[in-house]
Amino acid sequence: MLAIYIVLMLMIIGAVIAIEIKSLLSSVIAVGAVGMGLSLIALILNAPDVAITQLVVEIISVIILIRATIKKDLPESTTEQRVMSGVAALVFLAALVLVGIAVFKEIPPFGQPIMRVAGEYLANGVQETGATNIVASILLDYRGYDTLGEATVLFTAVLGVLTVVRRQGKKSEKSGGGSDHE
C-alpha cells in the first residue's frame, strides 16, 4: 500500500509540474512521468496486462507529442475574468468533492470487490475458453462484443485523424490561401 501512495504522490507532483512549467518539452516529459507512474501502480496491483498496455501507449503518445506538437506555441489564457473563473473553479471543485465523498461511501472497500460476475469468470474461465490469461478470455470471449465496439472506436479515431491531417486537402488549401498556419 505504501508504494502505491508514494507513486501517487509522484504522479500528482508530475501533473502539477506539467501544468505549471513554461517549456513545452518539459511539460510533455512530466506527462510521460505521470503515465509511467500509472503503469507502475497497475504493476503493483498485480495487473500486468494493464501495465503493459499503459506503458506502450504512454511511450507512443509521448513520441507523437514530442514529434508533432512541440513547436506550436501555447495559446495564452485571458486573465481578465480571473475572479469569475476562480469562483467557478471553487464551486466545481466543492461539488466534485461532495459527490465524490457520497460515491465513495457506497462502493466496496479497496481490494475487496463484490465479484458477482467476475467470480463466475474466474471459476469457469479456463474450462470454458481454454485461455490461461483470464484477461484475454474476458476481452475476446465473454465480452467480445465490447471489444468489437472498442475496435470500431479506434478505427473511427484513425479515420478521423487521417481525414483531418491528410495531405490532399493541405495542398488545395495552400494553393487557395497560403496562410493556413500561424
Binding site: D49, V56, G130, A131, L140
Partner: protein
C-alpha cells in the same frame, strides 16, 4: 533542419536501430501470439509493433519507413484487421451466436489453444499496429509540412 530530419538521425542511432528494430518487432509478435497464455494481447502487441515502425521512421526518415510499409499498405492492413475481427465474430453463427468460440479449445498453456482468441488477437494487432503507425506518420508529416511552409 527540415531536410536533415527527412534523412534521419546520426550514424550511431541508425546502427543501434538496425540492431534493435528486429528485436522489438519479434517481442511484439510474441506478445500478440501469447496473448491468451501470458499477459499481453492484441492491443499491447499491436502498439509495440507500431513502435518498431515508429523507431524506424524516427531514425531513418520517412522514405525508408515507407519503403518498408507504404501508406496504402497501412490502410489495407488496418481495414483487413477490422474485417477479420468482424469475420471471426460472424463465424460464431456456425455454432449458434455472435462471437461463439467454435474452434477447438486445446490444452491450457499451449500456443494453439483457446479457440478464437488467438486469431482475434492477431486481427486486433493488425488493426492497432497499422492504425497507430498511420496516426504517427500523419502527424509527423503534418509537422514537416508546417515547418516547410514557415521557411
Amino acid at each position: 533542419m527540415s531536410k536533415e530530419r527527412e534523412q534521419g538521425m546520426s550514424l550511431i542511432v541508425k546502427t543501434i536501430t538496425r540492431l534493435t528494430v528486429g528485436l522489438i518487432l519479434l517481442y511484439g509478435i510474441y506478445i500478440v501470439t501469447h496473448g491468451h497464455v501470458s499477459p499481453g494481447g492484441g492491443f499491447a502487441g499491436g502498439v509495440i509493433i507500431a513502435l518498431a515502425f515508429v523507431h524506424l521512421l524516427l531514425a531513418f526518415g520517412k522514405d525508408t519507413a515507407f519503403k518498408v510499409l507504404s501508406e496504402s499498405m497501412m490502410s489495407i492492413l488496418e481495414s483487413t484487421g477490422a474485417l477479420l475481427f468482424l469475420l471471426i465474430a460472424l463465424i460464431g453463427f456456425v455454432g449458434g451466436h455472435f462471437f461463439m468460440n467454435v474452434l477447438p479449445k486445446g490444452h491450457p498453456f499451449n500456443l494453439f489453444s483457446a479457440g478464437i482468441i488467438l486469431p482475434c488477437n492477431i486481427a486486433i494487432c493488425l488493426k492497432v499496429g497499422a492504425g497507430l503507425f498511420a496516426i504517427a506518420v500523419a502527424l509527423v508529416l503534418l509537422k514537416l509540412a508546417v515547418e516547410k511552409e514557415e521557411k
